[in-house]
């Protein structure tokens, strides 16, 4: 019974996470949003993905995704964004 509850709980969490990721992904590519928000949203997708990895029994991947996918990548984005401020908002 315990297992059943645990499984359903996980299922719910996964679904919730997936939904959140999809919403964040939409934000990341939705063009009316400003670029920094898009970048943050992409980082968020990554972060949520790392939580999902944890749930999927992949702690190694989760750590890597968190550190590299959401951390460093997002930082790189902002770094470059800072360098190209002049043209950043011209679509």
């Amino acid at each position: 019974m315990d297992l059943f509850i645990r499984d359903n709980l996980m299922l719910a969490m996964l679904l919730l996470l997936s939904l959140a990721m999809l919403v964040a992904a939409f934000m990341a590519i939705y063009s009316k949003r400003s670029l920094p928000i898009a970048m943050l949203a992409a980082g968020l997708v990554s972060l949520l993905a790392s939580v999902q990895f944890l749930l999927l029994g992949a702690p190694d991947v989760a750590m890597t995704e968190a550190a590299i996918g959401s951390g460093l990548t997002t930082f790189l984005f902002f770094f470059i964004l800072g360098r190209v401020r002049g043209g950043a908002n011209r679509d």
Binding site: D60, T64, A67, G86, G87
Partner: protein, 241 residues
Amino acid sequence: MIKRFLVLLLVLSMGVMFSQLLVGYSPDRQLNATAHYYATQTASETGAANIVSAIIVTYRGLDTLGEVTVLFLAAAIVGMVLSAKQGGQSPTSASEAERQLPPYPPVGELLATGTQLLVPLILMFGAYVIVNGHLTPGGGFQGGAILASGMLLLLLSDPLRTIGHRLISVVESFSGLAFVLLGILGLLLAGGFLDNKILPLGTFGSLFSAGAIPVIYIFIGLKVGAEFSSMLLNLAKTEER
């Protein structure tokens, strides 16, 4: 608009293909032969508790060597792209405009102090993640990324600080070379390229175990950290133009 529609159509067709994949997919009930081998043999063959680490460092060590090389390449090319030697470098209005922008505002006291406190901690944590890679989740890549984030903090708190670029490139090259050499040692002393049995496997589950895995992971960690740092440093230098 037509283009958007076309792209949508294409993406939807891809979606159809993916859905076919999804329909055709059924989760395995049992581990397949490859995974079964890893599950049962990793402990005795490599002595690593973290099977993923064992796969990364040993069984698929060639991939990892390639992966480290990807980072090396990326760092080198970022350096190449950013160094102005490439032909056709001409001052444009954009870079003029950029020059007139005020530099970053001075960093606050909080960040500066926080950095001083945090950086050693972060470095320690990174080192921990690296050396325990064969036992717990984590390893060279994660640890390396953590090391680099320490470097990042240093850069943020003091953008004009000159961190020994030379040191980083030496670490980068040396650890890469060490990785290759360890691989060759495996070829010479043990069963094949990147075989971890060049060192004793030790007691299963303890820090000093799993043969050369921790050693290789240390070099991977150093290398990854150095690559990221070198990328960041190169990017940071762009501002000084």
